[in-house]
């Protein structure tokens, strides 16, 4: 009894596995569902260029995070000195991570140094001089700086996730890139502007007093007193858009002190507004600000745009209102952005949105060219190699099934260049078969028997096929490593295609030939 050769078994197992992985996707498409219901519940993902959606790359300003932290320490030092009755002679910021203080009381210098060192453990304290006076220089430790940047980055990613969650995109994909970038993919998202507003805005809230002594028109001409700045009302405000207003530079309170931000509705007009609540410390500061500035205008600034500048009527404790001619959507986005404010400024570096109709168009065109190309190749193979050509065509079809199965199994993403990759594979898969068949023809011409020609053909060609395909694989893998988005999709299908075509040429075709020659005892090869 003949022992079962390993080849047919391997082929069957691999093909079955591929089919098992592909079926859920096919069933999902035919039932027009969103998720596959068949086991193993994996599906081929479509890239954004095929299903439509939005792709954003955000950059987190980590340098600013460090600078802001040092800012806070600088302010803390001032209060610390006051609380401990240490009189500073001069207090100065030297660079983004360093500041220095010279002391008035030189006798208490060592004692003061000790106290300061104890309190500000994240800083290295060195003695230096400031304008000729003995001073202490505090520099942020690099380990602490790394800590700050890492935390700021992680917090920013978390905030993005929270915002995207609330936004409600289907299957969003948020991941860090490098040390300071966040890649956000939102399939199916069409409203690019809203996405930008809700996900791309930093959400930095500032309360500043209006400089009532300077006329905005003067400021526009360039006559701005020091300590004041020129700002504009937000662009989307239906009434006040683009209007200039002069504010005092000093930020009295920031969004860091918010504990809540919610959309509420004015009972009489039905207009939406955003109600904000402060935490304990914030409430205290806000109460102090409002108490000290009655009848003055307090501007509410978000990411540098002025939302409103109401007049303070009385001391306010704990809560506030942000009005500004909102509609439902803009009030909701504002509340969201305040609640999930980024710890440090975030910028949109890159954005791509593809409409769904373009995506469908691309799929259709891609699949059609694949069909036409495939049919042409199949016909040609039969014409040129006759019977053997049919075997090559079977191998080709198996290739496509394997690639599809591979995509599903790895939850890989199919993009438009990815479809091009499959089409390329169709052309290159032919190569492997051609190599084998040309060899077989050569051997037959030399007079060898069918059996011998087959063996020699496959053997001689194997090494060459491996050589040639490995180099394409190298190129594909390098591309996978360095590429992004659609190009990565191409690298994936190309790699899968190369592996599949080597497999089908060397194992599948061989199996079929073996079967024909041994079991069916074919005397001459139709090649």
């Amino acid at each position: 009894m003949k022992t079962l050769s390993w080849r047919p078994i391997v082929v069957l197992v691999v093909l079955l596995a591929a089919l098992v992985f592909v079926l859920p996707t096919l069933q999902m498409v035919s039932d027009k569902k969103d998720q596959p219901t068949l086991w193993p519940h994996k599906k081929i993902n479509l890239g954004l260029d095929l299903q439509g959606g939005m792709h954003l790359v955000l950059q987190v300003d980590l340098a600013k995070a460090v600078e802001s932290a040092v800012d806070r320490s600088y302010d803390d030092l001032r209060s610390f000195l006051r609380q401990n009755h240490i009189r500073p002679k001069a207090l100065r910021r030297i660079d983004p991570t360093t500041f220095a203080v010279s002391l008035a009381d030189l006798e208490k210098f060592p004692e003061s140094k000790g106290l300061i060192a104890d309190e500000f453990r994240d800083y290295t304290i060195d003695e230096s001089d400031l304008d000729g006076d003995r001073a202490l220089e505090l520099k942020l430790k690099s380990s602490e700086a790394e800590n700050i940047t890492r935390l700021a980055f992680e917090k920013a990613i978390m905030k993005v996730r929270n915002r995207v969650d609330e936004y409600g995109a289907r299957e969003p994909d948020i991941r860090p890139q490098g040390e300071d970038r966040i890649v956000v993919q939102l399939p199916g998202v069409i409203d690019a502007e809203r996405a930008r507003k809700e996900i791309g805005r930093t959400g930095n809230l500032e309360f500043k007093l209006v400089d009532e002594n300077t006329d905005p028109r003067e400021a526009l001409k360039g006559n701005l007193p020091s300590g004041s700045e020129l700002k504009y009302y937000r662009k989307d405000d239906p009434d006040m858009a683009g209007r200039a207003i002069v504010l005092k530079k000093e930020t009295l309170l920031t969004g860091d002190y918010l504990s809540e931000a919610r959309v509420q509705f004015d009972p009489s007009s039905g207009q939406p507004y955003v109600g904000i609540k402060f935490n304990t410390k914030g409430s205290r500061i806000f109460a102090q600000i409002t108490e000290e500035n009655i009848n003055k205008q307090l501007a509410i600034v978000l990411d540098g745009e002025v939302y409103s500048a109401p007049v303070i009527r009385s001391k306010i404790v704990g809560e506030g209102i942000i009005e500004g001619n909102f509609n439902d959507d803009s009030a909701k986005s504002l509340a969201l952005v305040l609640r999930e404010a980024f710890p440090t400024p975030v910028k949109i570096l890159y954005e791509k949105s593809v409409g769904p109709s373009l995506g469908e168009d691309s799929i259709r065109k891609g699949l059609f060219s694949m069909l036409v190309g495939g049919v042409l190749v199949i016909l040609f193979m039969v014409l040129y190699y006759k019977g053997a050509g049919i075997i090559a065509d079977i191998a080709l079809t198996a290739n496509i099934v394997l690639i599809a199965g591979g995509l599903a199994a790895f939850n890989a993403t199919l993009t438009l260049p990815g479809i091009a990759g499959i089409i390329l594979t169709i052309g290159m898969a032919v190569d492997a078969n051609v190599l084998i068949y040309e060899r077989i023809r050569e051997e037959l011409r030399l007079g060898k028997s069918v059996r011998a020609a087959l063996d020699a053909g496959f053997e001689r060609a194997s090494l060459t096929i491996l050589d040639a395909n490995i180099t394409t694989l190298i190129a594909a893998l390098v591309l996978f490593q360095f590429g992004s988005g659609p190009v990565k999709g191409f690298a994936v299908t190309l790699s899968l295609g190369v592996v599949a075509s080597v497999f089908t040429a060397l194992v599948l075709s061989r199996t079929i030939f073996e079967y024909l020659v041994t079991k069916r005892r074919v005397k001459t090869l139709s090649i």
Binding site: R196, V377, A475, G483, S484
Partner: protein
């Protein structure tokens, strides 16, 4: 059915001088075009800026679109997309004009006002300058590393000089990486590294690698040159196409080299020129067939694939054709020239 007669015996080697002239001419024209245009025409992937695909409610002549754009102060290039009169246009906005927020909204509103018809934005891409230069860097590094790995592979397979080539590749890779961290201009770095590599091949007698890499440089230069001549844009997918061409052209070259090696063993007494010729002729059938079928398939993509994939397919078409040619007329003759030096 046979396209190539099995007893074919075309004197490729004899005609190589002609091929040299042709190749040189093509390369010079390519480099000339690149120099003339001040480098390759970068798409927004590499240069930054914005690309918008707009579809108008009615068919509009392209000049009207162009004047509408200048009216709303968004300078850029306009191309008709897909079929004529489909109202589908591709608008490229210069990096200096594209730094605005909500650019797509402004563009749509502006165009609708100017053209008095509905405008739908089918796709919108905005690339910040930082991302653009990052991409350029990555693309060049990718091509360089691919070439390096391939060198190691070929030297190993054909000359069994695995360790030597691996050491060389490792050294070069490390050098490039280190110098790139010091922010040395990447393109200059690449060219320098390539020159150093070729010199090393020469010194270390890695003749197969030399032949293959020279052929690859030839292919990439001509493809890039043709892109420049036809005014086509360089984007990330084009780099993907070039890497594919590198892999594919190498395929071809290896097939011929393999046969040369086999025949060298078989016919040790024959002169090298004859062996090379014979090898090329023996593999001709396979070469024509594979290139032929791949070209047919890519042509289908080129014609039917739609505007987005159009340039990508063009790159592949050119690259595969030139790649096939170079395996026969560039890689093999170099091998031959080497042998003759001995």
């Amino acid at each position: 059915m046979q396209i190539i007669n099995p007893d074919v015996n075309i004197d490729f080697v004899g005609r190589r001088k002609l091929a040299y002239v042709l190749s040189l001419a093509l390369i010079l024209v390519s480099i000339g075009s690149l120099v003339f245009h001040g480098g390759p025409k970068y798409g927004i992937d590499f240069a930054g800026g914005a690309e918008v695909l707009v579809k108008f409610g009615a068919a509009v002549p392209i000049e009207k679109v162009k004047s509408a754009l200048s009216a709303i102060k968004m300078e850029g290039a306009v191309q008709a997309y897909d079929e004529e009169d489909s109202g589908f246009f591709r608008i490229l906005i210069d990096p200096k004009n594209s730094a605005t927020e909500n650019l797509d909204k402004t563009l749509k509103a502006g165009l609708e006002a100017e053209m008095q018809t509905t405008v739908s934005i089918e796709s919108f891409e905005q690339v910040g300058p930082q991302v653009g230069s990052d991409m350029r860097e990555k693309a060049l590094l990718a091509m360089f590393f691919a070439l390096l790995f391939i060198t190691v592979y070929i030297s190993g397979r054909f000359e069994l000089k695995w360790l030597l080539s691996a050491a060389m590749a490792g050294g070069l890779a490390f050098l490039v990486y280190a110098l790139h961290l010091v922010h040395l201009s990447i393109p200059i770095l690449m060219v320098a590294a390539l020159v150093v590599s070729l010199v090393l091949f020469y010194l270390l007698s890695l003749k197969y690698a030399m032949g293959a890499i020279v052929a690859l440089i030839h292919d990439v230069t001509i493809t890039v040159g043709l892109f420049s001549i036809f005014g086509k844009e360089f984007s990330l997918p084009i780099i993907a196409a070039i890497l594919t061409i590198i892999g594919y052209s190498l395929n071809d070259t290896i097939i011929v080299f393999d046969r040369i090696r086999e025949n060298l063993r078989k016919y040790q007494k024959r002169p090298m020129a004859e062996i090379v010729n014979r090898s090329i002729n023996e593999t001709l059938s396979r070469t024509i067939l594979t290139s032929g079928t791949t070209l047919v398939v890519v042509a289908a993509l080129f014609v039917l694939g739609g505007g987005i994939i159009h340039d990508f397919a063009f790159a592949l078409l050119v690259g595969i054709a030139v790649g096939t040619y170079s395996s026969i007329f560039v890689a093999s003759p170099i091998l031959l020239a080497w042998q003759k030096r001995k």
